[in-house]
């Protein structure tokens, strides 16, 4: 029998896949890697603003998860757990970065930083409209990058990844009520920041 295990049943529920991966089933683990690598990459990229570092983070997080899987008590908790690993690795890296060098993005520099601005234009709309929406996204990501890392993580986990207040609270070691307050402040700051761009 090869290392890939049996052919994979396509309609398996995630908890069953996680349980099999805990047993050392490589096909099950590969399925989890395929499911989570893109989400974790998007989170890491918006946290770190660096393609290579985001890739390293995805690789490190998922490798760590393979080693830690047998210790995961609740198979339904995999999603929350992997997001927690990834978020905390990003925050650790940002702490190290700021300890090594002043690497903050100053508000006045934001509109000149191309990597902070992913331009994705909806197809089929008129060019002026497209440019406006693209600029709007650039403003959003630029202001987002001025937020403190933990607040940015909070906003990304909720607004880009739909994670629950309870889960975000566990990840950031704060109460769900504090998550709510942090999110409200983040939205307020981003909305204000974007309005100054007119």
């Amino acid at each position: 029998m090869g290392d890939h295990g049996p052919g994979f049943e396509p309609d398996l529920d995630e908890a069953s896949i996680v349980a099999r991966a805990q047993d050392g089933d490589l096909a099950a683990f590969e399925h989890l890697v395929l499911t989570y690598q893109y989400r974790l990459f998007r989170l890491a990229y918006r946290m770190l603003n660096d393609h290579g570092e985001a890739e390293d983070m995805v690789q490190e997080t998922l490798t760590t998860s393979w080693r830690g899987l047998p210790m995961l008590a609740d198979v339904d908790a995999f999603g929350g757990w992997i997001y927690r690993l990834a978020t905390n690795k990003c925050l650790d890296l940002l702490r190290k970065r700021s300890a090594h060098a002043v690497n903050c993005i100053q508000p006045e520099d934001m509109d000149t930083i191309p990597e902070a601005c992913a331009r994705a234009v909806p197809r089929g709309s008129d060019p002026a409209h497209e440019a406006e929406w693209s600029a709007e996204q650039d403003r959003l990501t630029a202001v987002l990058n001025t937020l403190p890392p933990a607040q940015r993580a909070c906003w990304l986990l909720r607004e880009m990844h739909g994670r629950s207040y309870a889960e975000i609270g566990v990840t950031l070691k704060i109460s769900p009520t504090t998550v709510r307050g942090t999110l409200a402040r983040a939205r307020h700051q981003i909305a204000e920041g974007m309005s100054e761009w007119r």
Binding site: A15, S16, F41, V58, L62, A118, E136, T178, T182, E192
Partner: protein
């Protein structure tokens, strides 16, 4: 602390509350309050930009890791694979035949996949040698010793589909595993313990 932390407008309305009701028509207060109107407009703009960013990030080919990343992760997993204990299937004069618990679990899961309404999860397998004295044989009985062979104790945890008849389905599963094992490894499953630990939606 958090509740006081939520930013408030000069009129006393919290940003959180405006955000929560942003998709509804403005209240009587909001219609006449300039601060509320400004905040609503800005938050609506943020809401729309957030939605667009979520969409474009999801489909942006530049926001994906290289395929090499997945391969590197799987290389590590393969190198550190947990195979479980080794199970001795047969011992002959010229050597032994063993199978890893993990490989045997795979065979059991393949068999289980044929039963509709069952998702197999963890699997633990022990082997019980037939030569252990006194086991499974009432004292005083004789005659089975020479033909007795080792047998497997399979412990399988499964999730069952909502709405299936569990006892009947588990009996079919037990039968399937009991038939598959001798066919695959030449040792019969003495005991197949099945635990339904979860239900899944269909």
């Amino acid at each position: 602390m958090a509740l006081e932390d939520i930013p408030r407008l000069g009129c006393g309305r919290s940003i959180d509350r405006i955000w929560a009701t942003i998709d509804r028509p403005p209240t009587a207060h909001e219609e006449h309050c300039e601060q509320c109107q400004t905040a609503r407009t800005r938050l609506q703009r943020l809401g729309e930009a957030t939605r667009l960013l979520r969409q474009s990030d999801l489909h942006d080919p530049a926001l994906k890791p290289r395929p090499g990343i997945k391969n590197a992760i799987m290389d590590v997993a393969r190198a550190e694979v947990r195979r479980g204990s080794s199970i001795l299937l047969r011992s002959a004069d010229n050597g032994t035949t063993e199978i890893s618990e993990q490989a045997l679990s795979s065979l059991i899961r393949i068999a289980a996949a044929a039963i509709p309404g069952v998702h197999s999860r963890r699997c633990r397998i022990e082997i019980r040698s037939a030569s252990l004295p006194g086991e499974d044989r009432p004292s005083g009985t004789t005659g089975t010793t020479t033909t007795a062979r080792p047998r497997l104790i399979v412990n399988l945890w499964v999730a069952a589909a909502q709405g299936i008849i569990i006892p009947r389905t588990m009996e079919a599963l037990r039968q399937k595993i009991s038939n598959a094992l001798p066919a695959c490894v030449g040792i019969s499953a003495g005991t197949v313990n099945i635990t339904v630990e979860d239900l899944y939606d269909v």
